[in-house]
C-alpha cells in the first residue's frame, strides 16, 4: 500500500506547501510595508547603510543556483545522472556561498553594534530599530530556509548516488527544485526592499 506512487499528487502537495510558505513570508511583508509607510525617511537612510555590492553578489549567486538546480533536474530526467550530480553539487556550493556572504554581512553589522536589542541600536531613531528588526527577521527566516534547502539538497545528492532517484523517479528532485526556486523568489523581493529602495 505504501508503494502506491502518485507523482502528480506529490507535486500538488509540494505546491500547496509553497503557497503556505508564501503566506508565512507574506506576514513579514505586511509588517515591512506598514513600518516603511510610517517611517519612509528613516528606512531610506538605513537602507543606504546596507552593503549593496554584497547584496547584488548574493542575488546573482542565488539566481545562478536556481539555474544549476533546473539543469540538475533537466539532466536527471534526460538520464544522465553524472551531469545532474555535477549541477546539484554546484547548487549546493552556491547555497553555501550565499550563506557565507550573509554571515559576513551580519558579522559586520554586529561589530558596529547593530543587532536586535543592542544598546547602541536602541539609542537611534525608532524607525531604524524597526528597520533592523525586520532586516534580521526577514533575512534570518530566509537564511533558515536556505539552510534547510541545503540539507534537502544533500539528501538528494545521496539519493542520486545510490540511484534511489533517477530518470524514472525524479519527483523528489523536482520538488526540491520547486522549494529552492521559491526560496530564490523570496530573495528576489527581499533584495530590492532592503538594499535598493533608497
Amino acid at each position: 500500500m505504501e508503494n502506491h506512487r502518485n507523482d502528480g499528487g506529490s507535486k500538488l502537495g509540494m505546491w500547496l506547501f509553497l503557497l503556505s510558505e508564501i503566506l508565512l513570508f507574506g506576514g513579514l511583508f505586511i509588517l515591512y510595508s506598514v513600518y516603511r509607510f510610517q517611517n519612509p525617511q528613516i528606512f531610506h537612510l538605513a537602507a543606504e547603510a546596507l552593503n549593496r555590492p554584497l547584496g547584488v553578489l548574493n542575488t546573482l549567486v542565488l539566481l545562478t543556483s536556481s539555474l544549476t538546480m533546473a539543469l540538475s533536474i533537466f539532466f536527471l530526467k534526460k538520464g544522465s545522472p553524472g551531469r545532474s550530480l555535477l549541477f546539484l553539487a554546484s547548487t549546493l556550493f552556491l547555497g553555501i556561498l550565499f550563506l557565507f556572504n550573509k554571515y559576513l554581512e551580519w558579522t559586520w553589522k554586529v561589530q558596529l553594534g547593530i543587532y536586535p536589542d543592542a544598546p547602541r541600536l536602541l539609542e537611534r531613531e525608532r524607525g531604524e530599530v524597526l528597520f533592523y528588526g525586520l532586516y534580521y527577521s526577514m533575512t534570518g527566516l530566509h537564511g533558515l530556509h536556505v539552510l534547510v534547502g541545503l540539507g534537502i539538497l544533500s539528501v538528494m545528492l545521496f539519493f542520486i548516488l545510490k540511484n534511489k532517484i533517477n530518470h524514472n523517479h525524479s519527483v523528489p528532485l523536482e520538488n526540491t527544485g520547486l522549494y529552492w526556486h521559491l526560496v530564490d523568489i523570496v530573495w528576489i523581493f527581499l533584495f530590492p526592499l532592503f538594499y535598493l529602495i533608497t
Binding site: 500500500m1 505504501e2 502506491h4 502518485n6 502528480g8 499528487g9 506529490s10 500538488l12 502537495g13 500547496l16 506547501f17 503557497l19 503556505s20 510558505e21 503566506l23 508565512l24 513570508f25 507574506g26 506576514g27 513579514l28 505586511i30 509588517l31 506598514v34 513600518y35 510610517q38 536586535p116 536589542d117 536602541l122 525608532r126 524607525g127 530599530v129 524597526l130 528588526g133 525586520l134 534580521y136 527577521s137 527566516l141
Partner: protein, 528 residues
C-alpha cells in the same frame, strides 16, 4: 474481509497504531488524543465556573485563575476544536467518501499526528518550566505577553508546532480531494462533508502560516528583543492584533465549516430526502472560507484601529452572515416533507441549528460598531462564542459520533440513553451560557476573577448549568465507551440508509476500504 482493526501492518500491538499510516487508525489516534485534551479543557472550565460561583476568592487565587482561563482557551482552541473534526472524522471518512484507499500522503498524515502530539507535549511542558503557566489569555496579546514573567516562549512555540500539523493535514486533504476521487466521483457528486473539509483545508493552508510567523516573531521578541511588536522600541502592538486575527478569525471557520459539513450529511439521511440546494451549500462553504478571511478587524473595534477600517470590517462581517444563512435555510428546507426519523444524530444536528443560530445572531450584535463598544470584552462575547463553538461544533461532533459510531467501531449505540444525555446537555448548555449573554449585556467584563454583588445570581445559575452539562457529558461519553465494548454488534453495512460511499462497505471498514475502487454513478443524497 477482515477489518482495519485486525493487525496486518509491520508492527503489532500499540506500535501497530502509533506507526500506522492507515488513515482510519490515524483518525482514531487523533480521536483518543483530542478527547483526552478536551476532557482536561472541560475540567478547567468546571474549575473556573466553581471559582465564579460567588464573588471574592472561592477556591483559587487570582493568578491561578488567570492561568486556568488561558489554559482552557489554549487547550480547547488549539488542541480540540481546530484539529477536531478534520483530524478525526476528516481523516477517517474523507478518503472513504471520495472512494480512495487512503489519503494522498499517508506518511505525512502520520507525521502530522506526531507533530500534534509534540506540540501538545510542549504545551504541557510549558506549564512546569520557565516562569510557570501562561496567564495572557489564548490570544497572547502584546505587549503584556512580552512583559509577563511566565513561560510565554515555550507556549507560543508549542502553538507554532501545532500549526504545522494543521497545515500538513490541510495539504493532505486538498491533494486527496483533487487526485484520488474514484471514477465517476465528479466534483458535484462529492458529499457535502468533503466540500466542507476541502474549503477548511484551504483555510488551514493559507491562514495558518500567518499566525505561525506572528508567534515566531513574538518568540523572537521574547528571546532576542527584536522590537517589531514592542511599543518601547517603536513597534506597533495593534499590528500584532492584525496578524493574529488574520489567522485566528479564519480559524473560527476552520472550527465551524467541518461541523456544517457534518450537519449536511446527517440531515438528508434522517429525512431520507435529497439535500435542498446542493450547490448552494457547497459554494457557501467556499464563500464562507473566502469572505471569512477578510473580516478579522471586527475583533479590533476598540483597539484603536482607524474608524474607516472598522466600518469596512463591520460591513464585511455582515456579509458572512449571508452564506451562513443560506446553509441554515437549506437544511431546514431539506426536512420539508421528508420522512423524518429523530434518531440521536438528527437530534444533535437539529440542536446544532438552534444553538448555532443563537450564536450567529448574537454575533451580529457584536459586528455592529455601536453595540460592539458596549459588548466588547464582556460575558456577552463569552456567551456568543460558546454558542457558536460548543453549541455548533461541539454538538456537531456529538452528532457525528452517534452517526458514524456503527461504521467506525462496528457496534451500535443504545436507543434510550443518548436521548437522556441529550436532554441533560441541552438544558445544561443553555443554563450555563445563556446567563452569560445577560451578564455581558449588563456589563460584566470577561476574564475577571471577581465581580460586583449584583452579578451574583446569574453567575450562580451559570455554575449550576455547568454541573448539568458535565453530567450530560459524562453520561453520553460513558454510554459511548460502554457501547464500544458491550454494544450490540453492527452487522449491517448501512444501518441508517445513507447513500454516501462509507455506507457501502463493511462496518468497520476493511484495511484499504474498498476491495475494488467503486465506480460512482449517482449523487451522495439520492435515496431510493
Amino acid at each position: 474481509m477482515s477489518s482495519f482493526y485486525e493487525d496486518e501492518g509491520r508492527f503489532r500491538g500499540i506500535l501497530g497504531w502509533i506507526f500506522s499510516t492507515d488513515h482510519k487508525r490515524i483518525g482514531l489516534l487523533y480521536l483518543l488524543a483530542i478527547f483526552a485534551f478536551s476532557a482536561v479543557g472541560v475540567l478547567l472550565g468546571f474549575l473556573m465556573r466553581l471559582e465564579l460561583m460567588a464573588p471574592g476568592p472561592t477556591i483559587m487565587r487570582p493568578q491561578t485563575y488567570n492561568a486556568i482561563f488561558t489554559l482552557h482557551g489554549v487547550i480547547m482552541i488549539f488542541l480540540f476544536v481546530i484539529p477536531g473534526i478534520p483530524a478525526i472524522f476528516g481523516n477517517f471518512f474523507l478518503p472513504i467518501q471520495v472512494g480512495a484507499r487512503d489519503v494522498a500522503f499517508p506518511r505525512i498524515n502520520l507525521l502530522s499526528w506526531w507533530i500534534y502530539m509534540a506540540g501538545a507535549g510542549l504545551a504541557v511542558l510549558s506549564l512546569f518550566t520557565g516562569g510557570g503557566p501562561v496567564d495572557t489569555g489564548w490570544t497572547f496579546y502584546v505587549p503584556y505577553s512580552l512583559r509577563t514573567p511566565v513561560n510565554v516562549p515555550l507556549a507560543v512555540f508549542a502553538v507554532f508546532i501545532l500549526g504545522f500539523s494543521s497545515i500538513l493535514t490541510g495539504i493532505n486533504f486538498v491533494t486527496t480531494t483533487h487526485q484520488l476521487r474514484a471514477p465517476g466521483m465528479t466534483w458535484f457528486r462529492l458529499p457535502l462533508f468533503v466540500w466542507a473539509i476541502y474549503a477548511t483545508a484551504w483555510v488551514q493552508i493559507l491562514a495558518t502560516p500567518v499566525v505561525g510567523i506572528t508567534l515566531l516573531l513574538t518568540l523572537m521578541e521574547r528571546l532576542a528583543g527584536v522590537g517589531i511588536f514592542d511599543p518601547l522600541k517603536g513597534g506597533d502592538p495593534i499590528l500584532y492584533q492584525h496578524l493574529f486575527w488574520i489567522y485566528s478569525h479564519p480559524a473560527v471557520y476552520i472550527m465551524i465549516l467541518p461541523a456544517m459539513g457534518i450537519i449536511s450529511e446527517i440531515i438528508p439521511v434522517f429525512a431520507q430526502r435529497t439535500i435542498f440546494g446542493y450547490k448552494a451549500i457547497a459554494f457557501s462553504s467556499l464563500a464562507i472560507a473566502v469572505v471569512g478571511s477578510f473580516v478579522w478587524g471586527h475583533h479590533m473595534f476598540v483597539s484603536g484601529q482607524s474608524d474607516l477600517a472598522s466600518i469596512i470590517f463591520s460591513l464585511l462581517t455582515f456579509l458572512v452572515a449571508v452564506p451562513s444563512g443560506v446553509k441554515v435555510f437549506n437544511w431546514v428546507s431539506t426536512l420539508y416533507k421528508g420522512s423524518i426519523e429523530v434518531s440521536p444524530p438528527l437530534l444533535f444536528a437539529l440542536t446544532f441549528i438552534f444553538l448555532f443560530s443563537i450564536g450567529g445572531l448574537t454575533g451580529l450584535f457584536q459586528g455592529a460598531l455601536a453595540t460592539n463598544v458596549h459588548l466588547h470584552d464582556t460575558y456577552w462575547v463569552v456567551g456568543h462564542f460558546h454558542y457558536v463553538i460548543f453549541g455548533g461544533t461541539g454538538f456537531a461532533i456529538f452528532g457525528a459520533l452517534h452517526y458514524w459510531f456503527p461504521k467506525m467501531f462496528g457496534r451500535r449505540v443504545g436507543k434510550k440513553i443518548p436521548y437522556l444525555a441529550w436532554a441533560l446537555l441541552f438544558v445544561g448548555f443553555n443554563t450555563l451560557y445563556f446567563p452569560m449573554l445577560i451578564l455581558g449585556w449588563e456589563g460584566m467584563p470577561r476574564r475577571y476573577y471577581d465581580y460586583l454583588p449584583q452579578f451574583h445570581s446569574l453567575h450562580l445559575v451559570s455554575t449550576v448549568g455547568s454541573w448539568i452539562l458535565i453530567a450530560g457529558l459524562i453520561l453520553m461519553f460513558g454510554h459511548l465507551i460502554y457501547s464500544l465494548f458491550r454494544g450490540e454488534k453492527e452487522r449491517l453495512e448501512n444501518p441508517w440508509g445513507g447513500a454516501t460511499l462509507e455506507w457501502q462497505i463493511p462496518s468497520p471498514p476493511p484495511r484499504e476500504n474498498f476491495a475494488e475502487i467503486p465506480r460512482v454513478e449517482r449523487g451522495p443524497y439520492e435515496f431510493r
